[in-house]
């Protein structure tokens, strides 16, 4: 089989890169051969952060520079990301999974199904508990909604159970997972879902 391609989108600072850092050890432990593509505006900031982290060989982290609107390169014209994923599959035969992190955006970004087989949208409690109620396309259409930094809820006046209930409601019961990526909480649940939905192992 070719590698599964999984998108990770969400607002700036919600924890997309932190989620990748947190899930890479789980993937390694499960024997899932992984590579990553990051998207930034005009730098390789996120890719450099992951390379410095040392959880993957540096050559397994590719950077795409969107230039401007970050969701254009994951939705309207994902050519650059498709080319990067194809290159990773050529360079690393037997790859199981390619994680594609979008550039930080607002609540409107979605991934083209031409680019990914599954995508998740990452928000965080510090962004406000009204985010699910705003029903952005990212919130509504993602295969998985991740609510990160759950541990900050009491410090920012957020009723976490209510926020999760509202997220479930606007998504019609599709998956919502609360995480604290920095402390590896909830991350195993994301891997379980990926194994079931796209890795099939």
């Amino acid at each position: 089989m070719t590698a599964a391609r999984v998108g990770i989108g969400g607002p700036v600072g919600s924890g997309k890169t932190a989620l990748i850092e947190a899930i890479l050890p789980h993937l390694a432990a499960a024997g899932i051969d992984t590579a990553v593509i990051t998207n930034d505006l005009v730098t390789d900031e996120d890719a450099e952060r992951l390379r410095r982290g040392g959880q993957l060989p540096p050559e397994r982290v590719l950077a795409v520079q969107a230039g401007a609107c970050p969701h254009t390169v994951i939705r309207e014209d994902p050519t650059l990301n498709i080319a990067a994923a194809d290159r990773l599959e050529r360079d690393f035969p037997g790859l199981d999974l390619i994680l594609i992190e979008s550039g930080g955006d607002n609540l409107a970004s979605t991934f083209s199904p031409d680019l990914v087989d599954f995508w998740m949208f990452v928000i965080d409690v510090a962004g406000g508990d009204d985010i699910p109620r705003k029903k952005g396309p990212g919130i509504l259409q993602a295969d998985l909604l991740v609510v990160n930094k759950a541990d900050l809820a009491p410090h920012v006046g957020v009723d976490l159970p209510l926020m999760l209930d509202q997220a479930q409601a606007v998504r019609g019961g599709r998956p919502v997972i609360a995480t604290v990526c920095r402390r590896d909480q909830g991350v195993a649940g994301i891997l379980d879902l990926l194994r079931r939905e796209v890795l099939f192992r």
């Binding site: 089989m1 070719t2 599964a4 083209s112 199904p113 990914v116 599954f118 259409q141 939905e197 099939f200």
Partner: protein, 155 residues
């Protein structure tokens, strides 16, 4: 992971092809054909987990150069065939009154990142959610451009 899905790794052919048509027709009489219903908006995906019309757990994992289409045959042996049924999405037909209105309308729909199909003098918006969500956004444009909206219909 509980339970192993039936892996479907390639498109073997198309139900409309003569050889497949005859073979599937015979198998249908024996109750050996199962259908995977896939929404049009999802059909571009290469991987998905889906249940057949008889509840069979299936995992599609196509190569990047293959694609799902209505009638794609994904599995066939002596006792079972599995065929994809890609359901056409509902669409809104938008017809601008003039070129100026068409420019406004096209810019508006592009700004909303809607998926559209261009027709002579009109365009169809492929609905990926409730129709009211789309009508709400068009309501704001009515004061700026003259156009008509036809209710969703099958493509």
């Amino acid at each position: 992971m509980t339970g192993e899905p039936l892996m479907l790794l390639s498109v073997l052919g198309h139900a409309g092809d003569r050889d497949w048509h005859d073979r599937l027709h015979a198998m249908e009489h024996l109750g050996q054909v199962e259908v995977l219903a896939i929404p049009e908006a999802e059909a571009a995906r290469k991987r998905m987990r889906v249940r057949s019309d008889r509840g069979r757990d299936c995992a599609i994992a196509l190569s990047r150069d293959q694609s799902l289409s209505d009638g794609a045959v994904l599995y066939c042996d002596d006792r079972l065939a599995i065929v994809a049924r890609v359901d056409g999405a509902a669409r809104l037909r938008l017809t601008p009154a003039s070129v100026d209105d068409a420019l406004r309308l096209g810019h508006w729909c592009g700004n909303l990142h809607w998926k559209v199909v261009f027709l002579p003098g009109a365009m169809q918006v492929v609905l990926e959610g409730p129709v009211q969500r789309y009508l709400d956004r068009l309501r704001d444009l009515h004061g700026l451009a003259d156009f008509t909206v036809e209710a969703p219909h099958d493509p």
